[in-house]
Structures are given as C-alpha cells and as structure tokens.
C-alpha cells in the first residue's frame, strides 16, 4: 500500500467518527460502560486475591524439639529442614527466646504465671519456625518434617504444628472466593463483547449502502476495510482511555479514603502504583481489540456482495 493511501485511510477513519457522530457516541458509551464494569470487578478480584494471599502467607509451621537436645543436633535438624524443596525460611527459636516471646504475648497476666521460670528452669523446648513457598501445600512439608524423625533413633522432634484442619478450611474458602471472582470477570468480559459488537454491528448496518457504493466505484475490499479498521481502533482507544482514567481515579480515591478513614477495618487495598499500569493495559488493550474486532467482523459481512 502506498504511504499516501495509508494516510488517506487514517484521515478517513478519523473523519468517519465525526461524520457518524451519534453512532460513534453510542459505540464509545457502550464500550465505556462495559469496560467500566469489568474494570471495577477486576480491581475487586485483585484485591480479594491479594487479601487471600496475605492471609495465606501468615501460615507457618512450628517444629518443637525435645527439651534436652544439644545445639549440634538442633543445627543438624535445621539443615535437614532447609533442604526440603518447598521451604522458604527456617528460623531457630531457642528456649530462651521462646520464653521471652511467651511473656510478651501473655502480657501482664503472664508475669504472675511465668514467675519463677528463668534460664535454668525454662520448661520450653527449642523450636523452629518454618515458612513455605506455597502455603496451599503446607501439609505436605509438615509431613516431611515429621518424617525426619524416622531416620533418627532419638526422635528429636516432639511435634509439628501448623493449624491442621483450620488451615485447610481457610484455603477452601480463599480458593472459592478466587474462583467466583474469576468467573464473574470472565462473564463480564463476554457480556461486554456481545454488547459492544451489537452496537458496532448497528453502526455498520447503517452504512451497508455506503459499502455498496464503494464497491460499485471499484474499491477493493481492503480499501473499504481500512478506514473502518482505523475507526474501530480509534473508538476502542478513546472509550477505553476514558474508562481507564475514570476507574483509576475512582480507585485511588478509594485507597486514599481507606487509609484515612476506613483503616480500622483492617482492609489493605493494593496501592494504585502497583496495578495502575496493569489495569490500563488490560482495559485499553481489550477496548482496542473490541473496537477493531467489532468493525472487522461487521464489515466482512457486507463485503461479500
């Protein structure tokens, strides 16, 4: 294609938006509302996912050792735990630190309860705090740690705890929430596609005659298609651009409000900086795609004459 022809198509595509003012407005509005809804739900889903991950990441395994174990043995067990594939972090908590931690956790009431227990008469065992890469599979790692006892006659590990039962239930809930979010987002995406393609089909139906005349004067199919393609893309970009600005502005206001006034609810929203570009890319990409797809599909229908 000649450069001048390409410029002509760009110019023509742009002019067509103006010429078909109301139809362009209808298309832009329908893309705007669909993508707006989609954007809101994606943000909601992302935040729910982030909250779920946040809760999940707090899950950890406590490994308690026998009270009379020596430092060398403790080191050996620590190394064995570290070698397990899913272990991300192992922290040794000595019996002294354990006592200190317990004092802190119990607060004032604990002072009386723990009075008299000190360095020599510490009833607590040494322990490890183990964190894993994939909290969903924490049970597997816990079992592997328990199994370390099998290779050792002295059975140095007395117990392995991670909130068995409760954790699994929690994961069931967070996974269900994630799946529902995903289904809602996909459903909205499909609905948006239908809504928008219907609007675009209508705008092009109105221009079927126009296409017929173009063919009559000897325009090739691609020559007819190009301006529609440009027009569709422009409409998609404009509409999704507006959507992105509105959605992100509203969201950043919500984040700000949350920090200032709703912070007590303990809900931590993802900062705009962390997802702004992703949302913009998603909405604008989708909007452009929808615009181009809608116009291409519809024009093709009338080109078969």
């Amino acid at each position: 294609m000649k450069l001048s022809t390409l410029l002509r198509h760009l110019r023509e595509g742009f002019k067509n938006i103006i010429r078909n003012g109301w139809m362009s407005f209808a298309s832009i509005s329908s893309i705007f509302f669909s993508l707006f809804l989609l954007g809101v739900f994606v943000l909601l889903a992302l935040n729910i996912d982030s909250m779920a991950s946040n809760i999940e990441s707090q899950v950890q395994i406590r490994v308690y050792l026998q009270t009379d174990i020596d430092q060398q043995k403790a080191n050996q067990i620590e190394n064995q735990i570290r070698k397990l594939s899913d272990v991300s972090k192992v922290e040794f908590v000595s019996k002294e630190e354990g006592l200190e931690l317990l004092r802190k956790n119990l607060g004032k009431d604990g002072d009386a309860l723990l009075d008299g227990y000190d360095k020599d008469s510490n009833p607590l065992p040494d322990s490890f705090t183990v964190e894993v890469f994939d909290p969903q599979n924490i049970g597997v790692t816990a079992n592997q740690i328990t199994a370390l006892n099998n290779a050792d006659e002295t059975k140095p590990i007395t117990s392995v705890k991670y909130g068995q039962g409760t954790v699994e239930k929690m994961f069931k809930i967070t996974n269900a929430i994630r799946n529902i979010g995903l289904i809602v987002v996909i459903g909205l995406g499909v609905t948006a596609m239908f809504l928008i393609s219907t609007t675009i089909k209508m705008t092009i139906l109105a221009r079927r005659r126009e296409i017929g005349i173009m063919k009559l004067v000897g325009a090739t199919n691609s020559f007819i298609r190009w301006p529609f393609f440009v027009e569709g893309a422009l409409i998609g970009i404009v509409a999704s651009g507006i959507t992105t600005v509105v959605v992100l502005m509203a969201y950043s206001e919500l984040v700000r409000l949350n920090e200032v006034e709703l912070g007590l609810l303990m809900i931590k929203l993802i900062p705009v900086a962390d997802l702004g570009w992703k949302i913009a890319a998603l909405l604008i990409g989708l909007g452009t795609l929808i615009g181009v797809w809608g116009s291409t599909i519809s024009v093709r229908k009338y080109l078969k004459v």
Partner: protein, 229 residues
Amino acid sequence: MLIEMQDIWKTYTDGTHALRGVSVRIDRNEFVYLVGPSGAGKSTFMKLIYREEVPTKGQISVNGFNIGKLKPRKIPYVRRNIGVIFQDFRLLPKLTVYENVAFAMEVIEAPRRLIKKRTMEVLDLVGLKHKHSSLPAQLSGGEQQRVAIARAIVNNPTVIVADEPTGNLDPETSWGIMNLLEEINFRGATIVMATHNKEIVNTMRKRVIAIENGNIARDEARGEYGYEA
C-alpha cells in the same frame, strides 16, 4: 468489441428467468438505449455488465474481461473502467460533493494533486464547481444526478451504465442530464442507458434495444421508443 453477450441466461434463486438467451454486441463509443417494460430484464442486463450479477449460462465479456469467470478480487479493477449511474443517485450522504467525486479517484490510489485537479475539472463539466463543498441533501435532484455523473466519469471509464438516470427528474432537468451524457459519449465513452422516457428516445435518435420477457425483441440502429407488451 466492448461488450459482447453470447446466449446469456439468468435465472435467480427464486426461479425467475430474467434473461433467456440474450446475444448482443455493443461497440466502442456507441450510445444505446435499453427499453422495455418493468421486469423485462433491463436491470439484469446492466448488472451483468458491471458484474453485480453473473450469468447462469452463456458468455459475457466487457473490455476484454470474461465477466462470468472473473475472480472476486479482480472485480474492483473491472469496475474502475465502468461508470454506473442510478435513478436514485446513490451518493454518500455524509460526504461533500467534492468528496463524493474524489472518492472514486482515491479508490484507484491516484496522487492527491491529480485528484484535486481532475475532480474540479469534472465538477466544472457538470456545472457544479461552485457547489463542491455542499452535502448531497442540500442539492436538487438534478444536481445530485450531475454529481453522480461526475463520479461515474472521473476515472475516464470506457463504459457508462445508466439505469433510468432521469427517472426521478422533471422533463427540463432530464434534458440537461441527457445533454451531459451526449457530451460524455462525444468525448469517447460508450453509454448503455435503460429508460422509460419516450420523448428522450424519440428525440435523440440512437441505437435502441428493446427487451421483453428476457429476450431482445428489437435492436435498431436509429430506433424509436416502444415495445409490444
């Protein structure tokens, strides 16, 4: 030979036989009236020329192209040598007079400067240079038809196919259009025009092909209007 039809049959999917074995030759620079009652096959005859329809049976060649066997992607290039004019003008309503005419040249990817020069030239020929920035809706019927003619001739086609070009116009305006078509014919284009206008046919004596019932009933060099049915 510009247009040649050999035993052309056209049957539409609903079973109507629009043409039943039509054979005809139209030479370069001829002016041909196509007369006959409504539904006799005039429109089909013309649609075959600009490849809006393909014959069910028979051979048709236009400008040396075998129309019936044309590959779809070649159709646009054949049409660029054929100017088509309709009773209802068929202008693009949202484009100005200038843009409507220039469009036919943009399609063939002519240089912009040439488009401008030639479009104004043709608008001058049809007497509408001063209305180049009007929209079709702002023009009278006769003026709109002049724009359509300007669009049809802007690329210097060898054939002009006109389907009742004066059908929607008053007698005086019709004569203006006919003079324009005669001028275009004089400049070298072949004109095939379907019409119901007896006065025009009988005054401007040209070749008359009468189509009745899908057949050529009469073909006279300097004929008069009229058909049996």
